[in-house]
Symmetry: C2
Subunit: 334 residues, 2 copies
C-alpha cells in the first residue's frame, strides 16, 4: 500500500509507492562520462575561462585549489539596467544579476567523493566568501547556490564545479514559502526547518548521521530516492557565517554522504543545493539554513511537472538504512 | 542580454538566456528506443495487463482501439481506508486514489504523430469518459492527466499511453494557484488563463496556431524550449465537456503540433498534461482548462529544483516561428 506524505519544510506532498520499484525501466542510466576533449576547468587551461573573480589556495601550497569565474554562458549579468525589486509586478525585466562558477579542483574530478577533505572544505569556504560578496552588491534579492553532478543532474561539464546565481527577483515559490515560515515563527517561535528537524530526531528512523552539531536525514516526505537534507542542529539563518570548525565538520559529513550514496548507486548523478537566508534586510530569525542532496535516479514525468508533487518508489526509511549500512569506499579509509 | 519573464498562469518566472544555447552539452539525447521485448500494451498481449476498465472502438471496426486498465504498478489504489479531504492537516495518509493507464493504440506506436487522426480523437474521448467516471467517485480532489513520451520524459514503456492519477488531496501548488485564480476572477470577472490568452493574441508573435475556437502558443514565459499551451478561446472549466466537433479539431491541432515539433527536434521526448477543473463542487467559473505540451530537450538542474523557476535557452518567439515554419512530415499530407 502506498502512502501520501506531507513535507512541512517545502509544503509539498509525495506519494511513496515502493511497489513501483519493480517497474520495467527502473532507475535511469548512471555513470559519469569522462570526456576526452580539452577541459576548460583543469589546471593549465585557465585562459579558457573568463577572467577569474577569486582564487583560493590550500594552506602550505601556492597553486590554486578553487577558482571562481563568471559563467561563460551567463543566465544573468551584472551590467545594463539595474532593476529595482519593486518592479516585480512587471512581466519582463532585463536579466540583471550574477552568475558565477566555482571550479572546485585543479584536477579533473567529478564528485566530492574523489577529493581530499581539505579541498571540499575550501569549496565551502569559497561558497561563503562569494555569498558574503553578493550581500554587499546592490539589488540582490536571492542567491541560488547549487551543484550539478553528472549529465542526468543537468551538468554540462563533468569537472567538479558549483554555480552561484544571484537574481534581482525572489522566486515566487520562495515568496510563498518564506511567508509561511515567517508566520510559523511568529506563531510558535520555532523555525519550520527546526520543527521538522525535531520530528525527524524524535522518530530517528530516517537519520543518516547526527551528532551534537549536525543532522543529516532522508526527509519524511522525500521527493526522490536517497534524498538527504543536512542542517545545523541549532537554528542559524546564514550558511556563510558558519565558523571554520563547523565548516570542516560539514565538509566531512557531506563527503561521507556522497561516498555512501555512491556506494549504494555507483556513478549516481546528483544535485546539491545550499539554502541560505534571502538578501532582504535582517532579521531572518525565521530562517534555518540547510543543504539538500538530490540524487537523480528517477525522472520527473508528467505527474511531477503538472502537480509539483512527486512519486517516490523508495521509502526514506529504507534509503536511510541503506545509506547507513553502505560500506565506505577505499578512499574513506585513510 | 537575457531577460526575466513572469508567467501569469503559473506564477513563476523564467530566465530567457538565448546565449546559453551555445553551451557545450546542448540538448539531451533524443530518439525513441524501439525495445525488442514483448510489449504488454500491444494487441494480442491483453492478458499482460490487469483486467480492463473500459475499451473504445473506432466507428465501423470491432477490435479495440483504446483500452483503459489499472496501472500494474499503481501509485495509489481505490481500496483500504477512504480518506476524507478534511484530514489534509495530517502528515501521512493511506495512498487512496485511482491510477489508470490509457493504452492509446493496438499498434506499437510511440507518438500521436504516428497515429490516424480518428485514433487520436478517440484517445481524447477516452480521457473525457474516464474523467467523467472519476467525478462520480467519492473523495477525488484532483486528477492529474498526463502522457510521457520517450525515456527523457519519464516514460517507462514506449508504446503510446497516458495516465490518469486521481488523488484525495489537492496538490499544494494547485491550492495556491487556484486561490490566486479565484481572487483574480472575482476581482476582474476574467479567468487568469483567459487574461493570459488575450495578451498572447494581442501580441501575436508567439502564436503557433489560432482560429475561431483554439489558441496554441509558446507561452511568453516558457519554462522549456518549444513549450506549447493549447486552450479553447472561450472560457470553459471542464475539458471533459468538450463536444465531439471541437474534440476532433483539438485532436487535429495536437497532432499537428506534435508533428511540427518532431520535424524541429526528431525523436523529441515530451510530456502532455491536461488541466481540467478540480473535483470540488462547482462552480469553477474561475477555471479555464488547457493542455500543456512540454518537450524535454533540456534537463532541470539544481537551479530549477532549488527555486521552482527555470532557465530557458530558446526564446518562445523563436520557438513559435520554428514550429510554424516546420515542414509537415509526409504523414501530414494525406
Amino acid at each position: 500500500m502506498s502512502e501520501y506524505r506531507y513535507d512541512l519544510v517545502h509544503d509539498h506532498w509525495v506519494i511513496l509507492a515502493p511497489n513501483r520499484n519493480s517497474r520495467p525501466d527502473e532507475f535511469v542510466e548512471a555513470g559519469w562520462k569522462r570526456a576526452a576533449g580539452r577541459c576548460p576547468f583543469c589546471a593549465g587551461h585557465e585562459q579558457d575561462t573568463p577572467p577569474e573573480l577569486a582564487r583560493y589556495t590550500l594552506a602550505g601550497r601556492t597553486d590554486w585549489q578553487v577558482r571562481v569565474v563568471p559563467n561563460k554562458y551567463p543566465a544573468v549579468v551584472p551590467s545594463g539596467t539595474v532593476v529595482s525589486v519593486e518592479s516585480w509586478a512587471d512581466e519582463s525585466l532585463p536579466g540583471y544579476g550574477w552568475h558565477e562558477v566555482i571550479i572546485e579542483s585543479p584536477q579533473h574530478v567529478v564528485s566530492w567523493s574523489e577529493m581530499e577533505l581539505e579541498a571540499v572544505e575550501l569549496v565551502l569556504a569559497a561558497y561563503q566568501d562569494r555569498l558574503k560578496n553578493l550581500r554587499d552588491q546592490p539589488q540582490v534579492a536571492y542567491a541560488a547556490l547549487f551543484k550539478n553532478v553528472g549529465a542526468a543532474a543537468g551538468a554540462s561539464i563533468e569537472h567538479a564545479h558549483s554555480q552561484l546565481l544571484a537574481t534581482t527577483l525572489l522566486p515566487p515559490p520562495w515568496q510563498i514559502r518564506l511567508a509561511r515560515w515567517r508566520k510559523f515563527y511568529y506563531d510558535t517561535n520555532l523555525t519550520v526547518v527546526g520543527q521538522w528537524l525535531q520530528q525527524e530526531q524524535r522518530q530517528g528512523c530516517r537519520l543518516v548521521a547526527a551528532d551534537t552539531d549536525w543532522v543529516a536525514v532522508c526527509p519524511f516526505a522525500s521527493r526522490v530516492p536517497f534524498e538527504v537534507r543536512v542542517a545545523p542542529r541549532r537554528p542559524a539563518a546564514y550558511f556563510e557565517q558558519l565558523d571554520a570548525r563547523l565548516r570542516r565538520r560539514l565538509a566531512a559529513l557531506l563527503q561521507r554522504i556522497c561516498r555512501r550514496l555512491e556506494a549504494v548507486a555507483p556513478g549516481v548523478a546528483y544535485n546539491v543545493i545550499v539554502h541560505t537566508a534571502p538578501f532582504d534586510p535582517p532579521p531572518h530569525d525565521y530562517f534555518h539554513w540547510y543543504v539538500e542532496l538530490l540524487p537523480r535516479l528517477t525522472r520527473a514525468a508528467g505527474f511531477e511537472w503538472g502537480t509539483g508533487c512527486f512519486i517516490n518508489p523508495v521509502e526514506p526509511e529504507r534509503a536511510a538504512a541503506l545509506l547507513k549500512a553502505a560500506e565506505p569506499t577505499s578512499r574513506e579509509i585513510r
